[in-house]
């Protein structure tokens, strides 16, 4: 409990903390009760309205939306990691034009609201005569944005390595790509895993923006429930959607945290394995 700001409390301090604890609890209970009471008065808490949310047909409809959210998230996530990696490589590459191009791309797409990027792909592509369809419009927009963000993460991970790593690799005669593959990336990727997972959680949150181009994802399905139900209103539907979405993203954040904690306690295993291979590649390179 004690942190930098609070020292061990004396009897008077403890009494004050007790008093404020009671006041805080009372205030929270009062606010909670007021919310429930008002909702009850509006008839929002009637059992019918909520049990309908758990009817098999409703659940199936929502599960279909969740599946669509997953499909878009997984597709966009995999492509973003791939292109983000390529962009990061371009940003640390030797030719100046590759660096400039990649920097321009990253700065442009990071500065735009994702919704505008979605409109750009959805309306823009059809204006140019391509028919991407809703799913791919959303996925392409997510990839344009997230590959830019991920490339920054990758670049930060690579730059966080000690310069001695590059120097040592060059000293044993490794060419550029084997150096990347065997020395730099295995260490950098380990450091980046928590950030990558956190970005995947953000991406999964952002799939909900597919709503605006009427992609049938989870939130969009939730918004349609009201239309074909006698009892359910948007309120019940969005509470349901919020709870499920929260649980999903919260779990992803926990996984990211787990990897972050583990990195602090476990030495780099992958690095030791890569070392052996690096030496043999260096020998081959020297021989060739």
């Amino acid at each position: 409990m004690s942190n930098v700001l609070i020292e061990e409390l004396g009897p008077k301090g403890k009494a004050r903390v007790r008093l404020w604890t009671w006041i805080a609890v009372a205030a929270m209970v009062a606010i909670g009760a007021w919310i429930l009471w008002t909702l009850g008065k509006q008839g929002q808490l009637e059992a019918d309205r909520w049990t309908e949310m758990f009817a098999p047909a409703t659940l199936e409809f929502l599960a279909g939306g969740l599946l669509n959210t997953f499909r878009a998230a997984v597709t966009a996530g995999a492509l973003s990691i791939f292109f983000g990696f390529a962009l990061a490589m371009a940003r640390i590459a030797r030719p100046a034009w590759a660096r400039a191009l990649a920097t321009g791309y990253v700065e442009f797409f990071r500065a735009l609201p994702l919704l505008l990027t979605i409109f750009m792909v959805y309306f823009g592509a059809s204006a140019l005569g391509f028919d991407l369809g809703i799913f791919w419009s959303l996925v392409v927009a997510l990839v344009l944005y997230n590959s830019a963000v991920l490339s920054e993460i990758f670049r930060a991970g690579i730059r966080s390595l000690d310069k001695g790593q590059t120097e040592a690799a060059q000293a044993i005669g490794l060419p550029y790509w084997p150096m990347m593959r065997l020395i730099i990336l295995p260490q950098a990727v380990r450091r980046m895993i928590p950030a990558i997972i956190a970005q995947m959680a953000t991406l999964t949150k952002d799939v909900s923006l597919g709503f605006v181009i009427s992609y049938a994802e989870f939130v969009a399905r939730g918004s349609r429930l009201e239309a074909f139900s006698e009892y359910t209103t948007n309120f019940q539907a969005y509470v349901m959607v919020a709870v499920v979405y929260f649980t999903l993203i919260w779990a992803m954040a926990r996984i990211a945290r787990y990897f972050e904690e583990r990195q602090k306690t476990q030495p780099a295993l992958a690095v030791a394995e890569a070392d052996d291979e690096a030496i043999s590649v260096a020998e081959e390179a020297a021989a060739g």
């Binding site: 930098v4 604890t21 609201p113 505008l116 909900s208 969005y238 509470v239 919020a242 979405y245």
Partner: protein, 217 residues
């Protein structure tokens, strides 16, 4: 439609929408600062229920999509008989959302303030609130200006989501112009250019702040 016709027709509306976006960004960020300071004070306070409240608040607002929060605010507050315009709802929801991130940024700032500062504050007899207000938060803020600048930019970009609850901001206008057949790419690129200019200005401003006030640890 030529460029001059385009600006004759949409010039005023572009200005209005830009102003709407700017207002929404600034107001919601002001709320986010207040919320962030309050929540982080709860988080580091010695009162257990306040700590729990702050933790739950941050977790909920960080792990739920902004769109869902907007809808919950829009329809939920409606059910509580508190009906606001799309603009007001968006400002408040966005303020709470960014406020949750703000409190985390401030917390990492607080953790970077040397322990001796808090000890010195207590030694001269400051209570918890005074200690935070006079000693710790002023120093904490100055170590996290860069993350707060990033939050400002993220917050400004997130105002676009308000189009879902019919706030007439820039991205909504881009869609309206496309539907009016004002030229798809022209509409998109003009709006994109406005965003780029606004955010470059904001980024430039925060870098100035940082150079002037930041404490490097």
């Amino acid at each position: 439609m030529s460029w001059s016709e385009f600006f004759d027709t949409y010039g005023t509306r572009l200005l209005e929408a830009t102003w709407e976006t700017v207002q929404m960004s600034l107001l919601s960020f002001a709320i986010a600062i207040v919320v962030g300071v309050i929540i982080v004070s709860f988080r580091v306070s010695p009162i257990p229920p306040l700590v729990t409240f702050a933790t739950v608040f941050v977790s909920i607002f960080r792990n739920t999509p902004l769109l869902v929060l907007f809808f919950l605010a829009f329809f939920g507050l409606g059910e509580l008989n508190l009906v606001f315009s799309g603009f007001t709802t968006a400002v408040v929801a966005l303020g709470l959302y960014t406020g949750a991130y703000m409190s985390e940024a401030l917390r990492s700032g607080i953790n970077s303030v040397p322990q001796g500062q808090a000890e010195a504050g207590r030694a001269i007899g400051l209570g918890f609130v005074q200690l935070l207000r006079l000693i710790v938060i002023p120093q904490a803020v100055r170590t996290v200006i860069a993350p707060i600048g990033n939050l400002f930019i993220a917050n400004a970009k997130n105002t676009a989501v308000a189009l879902t609850i019919s706030a007439p901001e820039l991205t909504a206008l881009s869609r309206r112009m496309i539907n009016d057949a004002a030229g798809t790419w022209r509409s998109l690129l003009v709006v994109a250019a406005i965003y780029l200019v606004l955010l470059l200005l904001a980024g430039w401003g925060f870098r100035g702040f940082e150079e002037r006030y930041a404490i490097k640890r």
